[in-house]
Amino acid sequence: MLRIVSILFFLICSLGVDRIEGSAPKGGEADAIVGKANLAAYYAGTDGRARVRMTITDAQGRERVRQFTILRRDINDGGDQEYLLHFSRPADLRGTVFLVNKHVARDDDRWLYLPGLDLVKRIAAGDKRTSFVGSDFFYEDVSGRGVEEDHHELIETSSEYYVVKNTPIDPGTVEFSSWTAWIDKQSYLPRKMEYLDNTGKVYRRIEALEVRNVGAYPTVSKMKVSDLRSGTYTVSEFRKIEYDLNFPADVFSERSLRNPPRQWLRGR
């Protein structure tokens, strides 16, 4: 399962490259690179936490800030995962919670809690390429795009990157005709992704602006998504990144929507 696109919320828990087994990819080269990138970007440690500060800048240069804490726990490496996002800013969104039970074999379960309406909503399975809370990130950037959803092709190998072109197997379900990823040869972290529309024009770009080592894990600590059509872009900065915190399973239960697990969100 390739979840390159979803690095945003996974890179905090990126595995060290050293934990990826195997030598230089050969046959099915592209698939192998993509598989490693998936692990590098999304499956680090057993769990992780970060404070995320998301700045949405519109075409007129006006900024809006959204801030949340993200918790993640792996059920099994490279397999199912759980996420909890708890918003703290702006004040009118404080206490809003987004919970995802990510499944490899079936559709993810997603819930949204809106405290201002005291409303828990399950979000139906369906199109995940919609805006995440009004930013330029997509929900799919959170809950992941399956490796098997695209055909992968290694189109270039430079001194720094593997360049992989990904073509959707069912073009009817997505708004792009293909996307290209520049994957770091050392860390296997995708450094740049570009999405092409049906006219062959790049209309969306994701960039890893800053990579830090958090313990043993190379981690993207600043990333930018640009919507080239509307001229808006969103920058996410990750702070207080921590791995292997041993969250108990009930942190990710539906109960946490209305009663956020304060001690785990806050940490220190």
Partner: protein, 852 residues
Amino acid sequence: MSLGARVIHLSLAYPKTLMLLAGLLFVGLGSQIPRISIDTDPENMLPADQAERLFHKKVKADFALYDLIVVGVVNERHAEGVFNTASLSRVYELTRGIESIDGVVRQELLSPATVDDIQPDGPGVVRFAWLMDKAPTTPAAVDSIRSALERNPLLYGTLISEDGKAIAIYVPIRDKSASHRIASAIEALIADFTGEEQYFISGLPVAEDTFGVEMFRQMGIAAPLAGLIIFLLMLFFFRSLSLIISPMIVAFITVGATMGLLIGMGYTVHIMSSMIPIFLMPIAVVDAVHILSEFADLYPRIGKRRATIVRVLEHLFRPMLFTSLTSAAGFASLALAPIPPVRVFGIFVAIGILLAFLLTITFIPAYIMLLSDARIARLRQAPQTQGQRLASWLARIGPGTLSASKPLLVAALLLLALSVVGISRIRINDNPVRWFESDHRIRVADRVLNKHFGGTYDAYLVLTVDSAAAPAAPQPIDTLLLEGQREQGIDLRPQWEAIMATTASLPAESMFDVRIDAVLSLMDEADDVAAELWDEVLLLLEEQQSAAKYFQTPSALRYVEALQTDLQQSGRVGKSNSLVDIVKTVHRELREGAEEYFRLPGSAAGIAQTLLSYQSSHRPQDVWHFVRPDFRATVLWLQLRSGDNQDMLALTRHVDDYLERQPLPEGVRLQWAGLTYLNVVWQQAMVQGMLEALLGSFLIVFLMMLLLFRSLWLGLLAMLPLSITITFIYGLIGLLGKDYDMPIAVLSSLTLGLSVDFSIHFLQRARTLYAELGDWPATVGQLFQEPARAITRNAIVVAIGFLPLLASPLIPYNTVGFFLAAIMATSCFATLVLLPGLLRMTGKRLAVRTKT
């Protein structure tokens, strides 16, 4: 006269040099014409720094609004209207095609195939999905699309018609000047479709840009056609091809040089300036017709061309100078109008008139001098049969005007009274779509789409809360920090006061963000206890920030809701969309679609989170078309079925009345924007400006008449035909029920300029003749010889010459054509019929003045 005489003698002495100079003038300035740039944007009727226009621009920027082309797909034949698989598939195909057209703001395209459906999907489940991400293939799929559209008040009446027969696609475009090209590209897509649907393309930008394209075509057709007809008419009157070529050359040089000068100086050709050739053509020809007319009459008697020309110009120089000066003054007065394109028009027509005068008194004599003797000889022998018929007819009228002068005067007064009634009925109104004939496809599309939908004209009602009204009291934070010092022994107040000091002067919109950022960075460096305290400061700051998000508070939105309800009930608005509709609709869908939740949530947080849900769609930017991201300004998008200024004006009055009853909350301003509203603004400026220009030029012309005739009475008489003409023309406009619009407003200067010509010629000659003859009936007899013929010929040439304008598909051109004929007829009639009788009443005065 001595200067004039010298000029004329020079041109008689060096005719070839003069021809060369005229040719150089034409080529030199005319060479600039290919650099032409067309401007049909009615926004440019207002100066770039005009307040309402600046506000409109700001609203477009603040709310990321684009000009829209509206494409309507109508199916009148299918029982379910457009809701069948075939029609929806075509809508889908068309949308995909339009998306790829260059210049279309793709992510803002509004069509059933580009919007989201937010629906409850079972208990506790909400669904965000494309409404129509592929062409539907089953009736069930069609039904679900239909019911989704009907459930969404933002789309119902906007994207689909309430009768289900039509779907509208709103195509936002980056640049208005590309709308004709984009509309043509859309038409090309449509051309490939077969089926029972009809397609219509509308919207103000298309109307305006298409007008530009047609206008360009008309400039190429109408003006030359008018030239041709004038040419044929002159041929008919003078029967000498070689002779009448000269006024045509004068006209062409005048038009070419004037337009070249205008374009060369970097002015764009606006709808007004596109009419310059059409205005200049008759004016340029008029003086030449006087010269030729008199030359043709005198030459057979005098027999020497040089002597004839000198004699002709002795008669004509002074009246021609004054007619040119008065016409030029009439147009130059438009420079006082507050509308830039009208100013340019007035100034360049004035320049053209003076140029035409110069050319006429130099070029025509030079040209006659260069004609071969044989041709001139032929002119001498030519029996002017046509001229004779007109002459004998006029000669018969002459004495009649004297004997029946009193009844004629009474008739004129009655006509004037009737005209005043007409003027009182004049309706000031304009609408760029109505610049097209009623069967033009743009007018047809306009009718059809406005029948089916909430309206294709938009106006924006903008509510803004002033910065001063932002609550910014920092006391709770001070108290908190004081407590922190007392209880935990850490004093953060110096740092906080530093933040306050540096941010105090920032606008409310950004002040809180900057303060929050400053606290956040202090928090990063602080120890645990201090960080804890900063966190609480942050909380209070954010509360203040939330309160500053005015249009996210329930009370503010309730005001908007009430205003919107009132507008909808007034019947003056076809459809309105606002932030309130978004919040209510999404709130309902979040609550399992239950109708009782089609209301505003009770708290700002509830509203914020409703909007957060709305933004979790494929179109997260949509909400920002209705509210500014700082929530301190919101816009109601009003769809109007009519773009008439009168209807827009009635709407603004309705809102004014509402505000009387329901005053705006403290600190909130209400302002209008949108193209339909801007049209009203410039129209009002124009009416006022034109009236001032008319009065101003009337006064200037009157002063010039006093200067010319050195007699108050003669001056007043000279003003009489034009006063009658203007009154009659505007009375006619009122009586015919024709809206007073931009082209009509400009006609006033034309009327003034053209109709004073006749009285100047007539009075000037009358005075000279009376001085010679000393007897009234004899003078009138003479007046109705050559002078009356020249006036009548001129009136006929100009009136008929502009009839081709009636065939144009553009209404302003028709208007000018029709009224030009009416102006000519009226002023010719008023001059010839009324002036003799009035002159006789003052015969003695005239004589006295002439003798001194």
